[in-house]
Every structure is written in C-alpha cells, then in structure tokens.
C-alpha cells in the first residue's frame, strides 16, 4: 500500500514582488478589481457586501482605504449600557443570570458591529488579543465595560495614550495583579507583560532590573474584583521614591513610567507593534523591510495609528497577488463574513439566536469572547485549524447557512447577487464560478468547480437549464445558492481569508 503523499510546508515561499510601502497603482497585472476590493474589506473588516464591492470599484484604492479608516476613526465612543457602572451591590439582588445576560449583550453588540461597521470592530478585537484580559479572572461586568469601551475608543487612535489608559483599566489591574502591586511589596506581573507583550516584545530592550523598577513606578492604582467599584489611585499605595528605568532616574508615576517606554524605547515599540499589526492583517510571515517602514511612520506620527494603517493598506505590498487569501480565517471570520456577503444586517435579519449560536461555535473553535486562553492571547494562523477544529468548522459553517436559508430577504439578496455578478446568466457553470469567486475570492480547480456546479444545480433536471425553463428568476435559485454554499464551506479554500 503506497503511503499517502505528504508535503512539508513553506519549503520555499515564492518571492514577493514588492517589499516596500510604495502606494499601490493599479495595472493590468495588478488590477483594481472586485477581488482586491474584497481583499481590502476582508482584511480590514469582516468582508464586504455586494454593494460595497461595487462602490469600492468606483473609488481609487487610496480613496477607499481613507474612507474605511476615516469612517471607523470617526465613530463615537460606544454608548454605555445601563449597567455600565453597576458594582457588586447593584448585582446583589439578582442571580448570575443577570450577570450573564449583560455579558451576552456585549458579545452580541460586538458581533453586530463586526457584521455592520466592521473596521473598528476588528481593530478593537485585535487589541483585545493584544492587551489580553480574561473575564473569568476579573469577573466584574463594570470592568468588562470599561475595558470594552477603551478598546473601541482607542482602536484607531493614539497608541501611547492607549497604553497609558490600559495601565489604569480595572480589568487589566486585576488580571495582571496591578491591584496587588503596592509600595514595599511590588508585583512584577503587569510591568513585565507591559514591556514583553504590550509594547516592546520579548527580551527586546529591557532587563530584569527594569522590570523591578518599572513595577515600583506602576504602584498606586488599584481595583477590587470583590466590589467591582471603579479603579482608583491611592497615594498611600504608590512608591513615591526615585526609580531607575532604562538607565533614566526619576520619581516616575504610572503615567510617567508608561511614557518613558515610548521616549526611551521608541524603535522597539514601533517595530513590535507594526509587526503585530502586519501579522494580523497581512500575513503570518513578517517582512522586515515592510515592518521597518511602518514602524518609522508610526514613530514619526507621535504614535498615531492611522498614518501607519493608511500606509500599509494603500501599499503595493498589501495588494500583492501572493498575499490575497493567504491567511487562515479566525473562528469569528468563519461566520461573520459569510453573513455579511449574503447581505444580512442586524437587527433586520440577524436574530439574537444567531449571536448565541455563533458565540457557542467560535468558543468551540477556540475563540471565546473576553476569555483568550492566556495573557499571550490567541496564537492565530495555523493554530486555529487542526483535524478537530476543521471538522467543527465544516459543521458549524454549514449550520450558519441555515440562517441564510430561512430568511426571506436574504434569500432574495442571494438571488440579486447572483444576477448582478453574472448579468443574469442562464448558464449554471457561469453562475457557480461567479458565486465561488464572490464568496471565497478564489477559483476552484476544474474537478471541484464541476462538483460545485452540481451542488448549484441541486437536482434540477438537466433539461431545465438548456430549454429555457431555468433562470436566476426561478423559485429554486435561493436554495440552489444555499446548496452551493454548503458545498463551499467544506472546501479548503473557504478556510482562507
């Protein structure tokens, strides 16, 4: 019995054409087409609707990037829920159901934003995985809200301000033991992660002595997960003596200590953060030249995120053929984009049940909202997909197609998309190929396109396609598209973002 063929990965990746951040100029070889519009939307947010792709084609790449980023940056701060400042006393009359109801509300809100606006929602989710906290550790809903709203408010703002604020966020204070970090009895946990995971990167420009001194500077702020009352600065807890951090001596307080990282280690911080963003938004393999250039922009714009993001998403590099669909979907990306591409909106189509199910599915796939596995966060990329989770992805994505199948409006959206994509073609192969392209951004090999077409045909007699009986106006069309989707979600191509 021959051994099934196995191949090792990444034997030699094909060379990238453009490793600079020169602005992308559409060309015959690299056209500004639906695939690239969709690529931008998929990476910056959670996919595009059909209308968004059509609008994007009418804009320049640069204009569309500006439009998406500016819109996201201009969004108001999230509206506080009525329970935003509820402490333990407020929750006391209720059972845990009430606590869970409020958490559920926030998860649903985030998913609704992913489906709707998309760009800020994704950026905030990225920061959730950067400034990791775990709800099961800090427990307070008021802290969750405080953390949630900070992630959103600063998502596309000034990173330095973001870090300073995060240092006094009650969720973070509890999670990384800042609340136990007091004068005379320092706790190094937050100081270490602040440098290692949040700003500079592991072993990248700090010493153990810096960690010790930094933790002294970070004393004073505290929060109580028993009471769930707001974080406060207690002068008596603060180590009000000089510290020497990065060789600089002064009586740094928490804000000052955070700022010192930016003034003394700007190269490390800018490169580390630019690298994180690159790997999350472009490809898991870092390209040092690109990251270096992004870092320079980041430093030179006083730690504003937008200039760096503009430069990245407008670049030749970002639109390289080689990088389209070159990422594995996260669990969230397994479900939200397919709803969005089908034209589902909240609350018109999406029901609360959908969010409950998606919450459950992404948790099963390893991405539980508010509870990353540890302080390093989700490792993303190929760690998302193994034999077990791949099979679960097939199962749950198939279930998600039922959402679409059972909504009258979405069913008609699907029909309109198929008509728009193909100018109302009556050739099932043409329609199938166009839908495959739309939903995956890719082309299937002939054997699989043939299979996909068979699923699209859904048992409709062959003669209906040749004698004029069938068209995209036929009553069966929405079900045919669902049938095709149920095939597609099981194709490996579907796992690529």
């Amino acid at each position: 019995m021959p051994v099934p063929e196995q191949r090792s990965f990444d034997e030699s990746l094909s060379p990238l054409v453009s490793n600079t951040l020169d602005p992308y100029v559409p060309s015959a070889a690299k056209p500004w087409n639906a695939r690239r519009v969709a690529h931008l939307y998929r990476r910056l947010g959670y996919g595009a609707t059909y209308a968004q792709i059509q609008q994007g084609l009418q804009m320049t790449p640069s204009g569309l990037v500006d439009h998406l980023l500016d819109t996201a940056a201009a969004l108001p701060a999230p509206t506080p829920p009525y329970w935003a400042e509820w402490d333990s006393t407020d929750y006391a009359p209720f059972g845990f159901d009430k606590t869970e109801e409020h958490r559920r509300e926030l998860r649903h809100r985030w998913m609704a934003d992913m489906l709707g606006e998309g760009v800020r929602a994704k950026m905030a989710f990225f920061w959730h995985n950067h400034f990791v906290t775990k709800l099961i550790i800090y427990g307070c809903n008021a802290y969750l809200w405080s953390y949630y709203t900070l992630l959103h408010q600063k998502a596309l703002g000034n990173f330095r301000d973001f870090v300073v604020e995060m240092g006094k966020n009650p969720a973070m204070l509890v999670f990384l033991n800042g609340n136990l970090n007091v004068v005379g009895n320092p706790n190094e946990n937050y100081a270490r992660e602040l440098m290692e995971l949040f700003t500079m990167g592991e072993n990248n420009g700090y010493t153990q002595q810096d960690v010790v001194e930094m933790s002294r500077a970070l004393t004073g702020w505290t929060a109580s997960f028993n009471d769930c009352t707001p974080a406060v600065f207690v002068p008596d807890r603060f180590d009000n003596t000089p510290k020497t951090i990065f060789g600089v001596t002064g009586n740094f307080d928490p804000d000052g200590a955070h700022l010192l990282i930016f003034s003394e280690r700007s190269s490390q911080v800018s490169n580390f953060i630019a690298g994180e963003i690159y790997q999350h938004y472009v490809h898991r393999t870092p390209v040092p030249e690109v990251i270096g250039a992004l870092a320079e922009t980041f430093r030179n714009s006083d730690w504003e995120l937008l200039p760096m993001l503009r430069q990245l998403f407008k670049s030749e590099h970002f639109f390289e053929e080689d990088l389209l669909n070159a990422k594995l979907k996260s669990p969230v990306e397994t479900f939200i984009p397919i709803l969005k591409m089908a034209g589902a909106t909240y609350p018109a189509n999406v029901k609360t049940d959908w969010w409950n199910d998606i919450t459950f599915w992404v948790q099963k796939l390893g991405q539980e909202f508010f509870i990353p596995p540890n302080v390093a966060g989700w490792q993303e990329h190929r760690t998302w997909v193994n034999e077990s989770t791949l099979a679960a992805r097939w199962k749950y994505a198939t279930l998600a197609t039922y959402f679409l199948a059972n909504d009258t409006q979405i069913r008609e959206n699907l029909r309109s998309i198929a008509k728009g994509l193909t100018n109302s073609s009556t050739d099932p192969i043409v329609v199938t190929a166009a839908l495959v392209d739309y939903f995956t951004g890719q082309t299937l090999e002939p054997l699989y396109l043939q299979a996909a077409t068979a699923y699209f045909k859904s048992g409709i007699p062959e003669n209906y396609f040749t004698n004029g009986t069938w068209s995209l106006d036929s009553s069966q069309v929405p079900d045919q598209i669902i049938s095709l989707l149920q095939y597609l979600v099981r194709m490996p191509e579907f796992q690529l973002n």
Binding site: D97, V385, S388, L390, G459
Partner: protein, 539 residues
C-alpha cells in the same frame, strides 16, 4: 427552522470531530468484526483491546439467522420516469389510444409474461427476470400527488406524506438511530455512500448527512486512488497555496474513510465488462468493486438523470432505460462472478419522484404524472409483480390513476424484511406504523423485539450548584448515547453529550449558561440503541 438543505457535501468529513476518541472507533471495528459484518481478515485488530458491547438492534437483527451483510442499492431515476413505457401492459388498446406516437409496440418489446413486456432496449434484464432476480412493483406513489420535481422528490426521500415537511431523509433517520454518536465516535466506513449530489436529503439526519457523498466518479477516484480527499501535489509555493496546502493536509488527515475506501477499492475487482459511455455503469462499477472489496458500507445510492421527458420521449427515455438495464446487468453479473453468491446480498431498487401522464402531450412526450413502477433486483428475490397496473380504461385527463403501492410500504419492507429491523424502528423512521409487503424480499427474522433501549428519568435543579440542571436517564445496554437540547419546534440546538456509555443509570449535569442557552422552553432528547425519547424542559 426549515432545514431543507442538510449537510449536502460529504458530512463524513466531520469525523475528525472527536479524533481523541480513536479507541472507540476501534472498538466499533472490533465489534463489527465479531459479528461478521466485515471479513475478519480485512481488519487490523492487532493489539487493540476489545471491549464487549451488546449488539445494537442492527447487528442483533442480522445475527439471527440469514446473511449478516445485506446491502441496499438505490438507483434514482431523476426527473420522473415514465412507468407506462418502462413496463408495458401488452395489448391494452387504451394505452395505444392514449399514446399514438410514443407507445411501445408489441414487436418492440421483450416479454415478461403474457401480460407484460419491456422495451427491447432493456433486454439486458431478461436473464435477471428469468433467473428470479427481478420484481416489478406497479404504480408506486402516494395519495394526492404533488407534481413539482422538487417537492415530490422531497416527499419520496423524506418518506413523508404530501403535506408533511420533514427535513431529514428516511435513510438518514434510520442510520442516525444506528449511529447515535456518529460524529463523535464515527464508524470506520461510511454508513452510506452516494455517487452524485442529487436528492441527498435522503441521507440527512438532524446533525449530519450519514452518507459520504462524492459528486462524481472522478472525485471518487481522487479518493480511491490516492487515499486522500484533496490533492496536495498540485499546489505551488505562493503564500495562498501554502495555506491551502495546510488545510488540505489537515482535511486529508481528518477524513477517516479514505483509507478504508482505498483498501476496499484496491481489493475488489470488476470482473465483467461494463458498458462504456454510460454514466450509471461507471457509478455501479465503483460500487460493485467496493462491495467485492468488503468495504462494509451497507447502503449505496447512484443516480441517472434526464427522465423528465416532456419532448421526444421515445428516443430519450429508451436510451436511458438501456443504460439502466445494461448497467444493472453488468453489476449483478459482476457480483455473481465465479459463483460468489454476492448477488443475493445486494437488493437493487429504482425510485423516481413521480411518473408521467398516461397520455402523450403535443410534443411526443409526457408531462408530470402520479405513480411510476419500481424495479427491484437481487439474487433470490424471485420474479413477479406487486400491486395493480394503472387502470387506463377510463382516463380522466386531469386525474391520474390512483397509486397502487405506497412507497412507504416499500421502505418499511426494506427496513424490516431486508435489513432485519423491528417494526418499532420502521415506525420511528417513517413516523407512523407502516405495513410491509410480505414476500417482496427474503425476510430476515425481526430484531430484538420491543424492549426499551433507553429511558428518561426526569430532571431537576442541582441541590447545591446554582444554574445546573441534572438530567437523569438510563440505557439498557452498553453503547453510543446522544443527549440533545431542542427547541420546541424540534430544531436541534445543542448536542450535550455524545459518546459511548455503559449500561445503567446516568446523570448529566446540564449548565445552560455554559452552553449559551437563554432561558425559555426547550425539549431534550435521548437517543440510544436505536430509540429516541424526548421530554420538555424549562430553563
């Protein structure tokens, strides 16, 4: 929720779902082996510890006398096959009056007996008929027929009545009860294998499609020849292709059937020549090879399309029937090769969503009608006719003749007499007590009888742990158990438990919050040993 489309593609691919439960997979293999369902020589039992299992109804049924490895092959005639021109009532003047241009003339048929004949294009079937390997069921249908291809097809494959919408197929429900932990402790062979994508609702269960569906012989060869679901050697070294490669290799590793399929395909050989240029023959050759290679799958489905003969029916339908006849003949010759006796273990059965109008239309064709004939094939089934031929004497142009054989009675007969299940299981699968057609096929003794296999013993809040509901139940035999939470409308929301458990009483601590289940009215369902029981639950 309208689950019209249930897991259309290779749900078997889900089997990675509980890879860590490999040992249970092996246990099932051991078990299958012990009951002789598979040839012992084909199994790699080696040093795998054997855990004793009580027989499931399936295997218990099969082990009471008779052969233990009966197989069902469904041959779908897609588009609505015209029964009247498939089996012709010889000399019926009404027939010739109703069909002036498309009727099959006496000199264009071979005769089954002095009353009935078939088009000469199907004479490949003549030896099967004379050797007692073929039966004809006349005018198979259901009350108040629906004339839409899609709805009628759904009715036929779900096994429901005209106005009842079910989202699972009759064979899906049947297999689901035999494999309650199908996804978590998958069998090593697909319970069913389908070539072609048509009508696969037939194998749909609540949570999964029980059939491995390969869309074409070409897709099948990819698996059978390489032992892999997806090719990996066609991908280049771009970043996209490298990620795709990763997913494909993961999928290949998760695809549990590849190896057993390849092994069976390797071992089995086609020993007769199948007709060429015949898509059905290509599918049936694959299935014969798998059966001869001891795959162990017991239900197969193949498909031949284009029976929707509104125009110029004669040429079109006769060509299709010729393909059917020559394929079936080659298939059974192949099975019977060298007196293997395999032909007696495989029941072939045609089905179609409906028949056609008894009169011809203005385009030398026929339009959608009511019942159609079903052909049964298999060594040892005898020959003969079941039911009554359509009464053509007083044709009402609007009203088709009323059906003679209810298709659900055939299903019940197949489940009970051919596959050896109890009438209880047939009742569960078909949703109502359903009569059988005695003598249609050589009958196996019924299964274990009417003993309960599982029971719900109530639920209540946990005494100490807030937010925990204890669900108590008992299973009467070791085996796979599934506990699910459903909406009140019957939609499965969560599978709480799925896996092997030992005989006895069990308590499942259910924490709705952990499963993200909102307060409300629900139903929970316990499945084990081929039975399902439900109870309402308020959370």
């Amino acid at each position: 929720m309208n689950k019209k489309h249930i897991l259309r593609h290779g749900s078997a691919l889900e089997h990675g779902d509980a890879h860590e439960r490999e040992h249970q997979l092996w246990t099932r293999r051991d078990f299958l082996s012990a009951t002789g369902l598979l040839g012992a020589g084909s199994l790699l039992l080696g040093n795998i510890p054997v855990r004793a299992f009580q027989p499931t109804p399936l295997l218990a049924g099969l082990s009471i006398g008779g052969p233990t490895d009966r197989i069902l092959l469904l041959i779908r005639l897609d588009g609505g096959n015209d029964g009247l021109n498939t089996v012709i009532q010889r000399g019926n003047q009404h027939y010739y009056d109703l069909r002036p241009t498309i009727a099959i003339q006496e000199n264009q048929m071979w005769t089954l007996n002095n009353q009935y004949g078939m088009p000469v294009q199907t004479n490949a079937l003549q030896p099967l008929w004379t050797e007692g390997m073929m039966k004809v069921l006349f005018n198979v249908g259901y009350p108040n027929p629906n004339y839409s291809h899609f709805r009628s097809s759904d009715i036929i494959v779900t096994g429901t009545g005209r106005d009842e919408v079910k989202t699972t197929g009759w064979l899906g429900r049947f297999l689901d009860n035999d494999y309650p932990a199908f996804l978590e402790t998958p069998p090593s062979v697909p319970p069913a294998l389908q070539i072609g994508v048509e009508a696969n609702l037939i194998f749909s269960a609540e949570n999964a499609n029980m059939a491995l569906a390969v869309s074409s012989p070409q897709e099948f060869y990819q698996i059978a020849l390489t032992g892999q679901l997806f090719p990996v050697n066609t991908l280049g070294n771009t970043r996209r292709e490298q990620e795709l490669l990763y997913v494909r290799q993961t999928a290949n590793a998760a695809f549990r059937y590849a190896e057993t399929i390849r092994a069976a395909y390797d071992k089995g050989k086609n020993q007769v020549t199948y007709p060429t240029g015949n898509k059905l023959a290509e599918q049936m050759a694959i299935i014969a090879r798998l059966i001869k290679g001891n795959l162990g799958t017991r239900i197969f489905m193949v498909d031949i399309a284009d029976f929707d003969t509104h125009v110029l029916q004669r040429d079109n339908q006769l060509s299709l029937l010729q393909q059917l006849a020559t394929s079936v003949r080659a298939f059974y010759d192949d099975l019977a090769y060298a007196n293997s006796g395999l032909e007696e273990k495989v029941l072939g059965m045609t089905f179609s969503e409906f028949g056609r109008t008894i009169y011809e239309n203005g385009s030398k064709g026929t339009d959608h009608g009511a019942g159609t004939h079903t052909l049964l094939f298999g060594g040892g089934i005898g020959n003969g006719f079941v039911g009554d031929y359509q009464d053509l004497s007083n044709p009402d142009p609007v009203q088709d003749p009323v059906f003679s054989v209810d298709f659900r009675d055939i299903y019940a007969t197949v489940l009970q007499d051919w596959l050896g299940y109890s009438s209880d299981l047939a009742t569960f699968v078909l949703g109502r007590p359903t009569p059988t057609l005695p003598g249609l096929v050589p009958a196996l003794a019924p299964a274990l009888g009417d003993n309960r296999k599982c029971a719900l013993l109530g639920h209540h809040p946990h005494a100490d742990l807030p937010g925990v509901i204890e669900i108590k139940y008992a299973i009467m035999q070791d085996g796979d158990v599934r506990l699910q939470l459903l909406s009140r409308s019957g939609q499965v929301l969560r599978t709480l438990l799925s896996g092997g458990q030992s005989r006895g009483t069990h308590i499942y601590p259910f924490k709705p919050a952990e499963w993200h289940v909102a307060p409300g009215e629900y139903v929970y369902r316990l499945q084990s040993g081929g039975q399902a029981v439900e109870r309402e639950l308020r959370i």
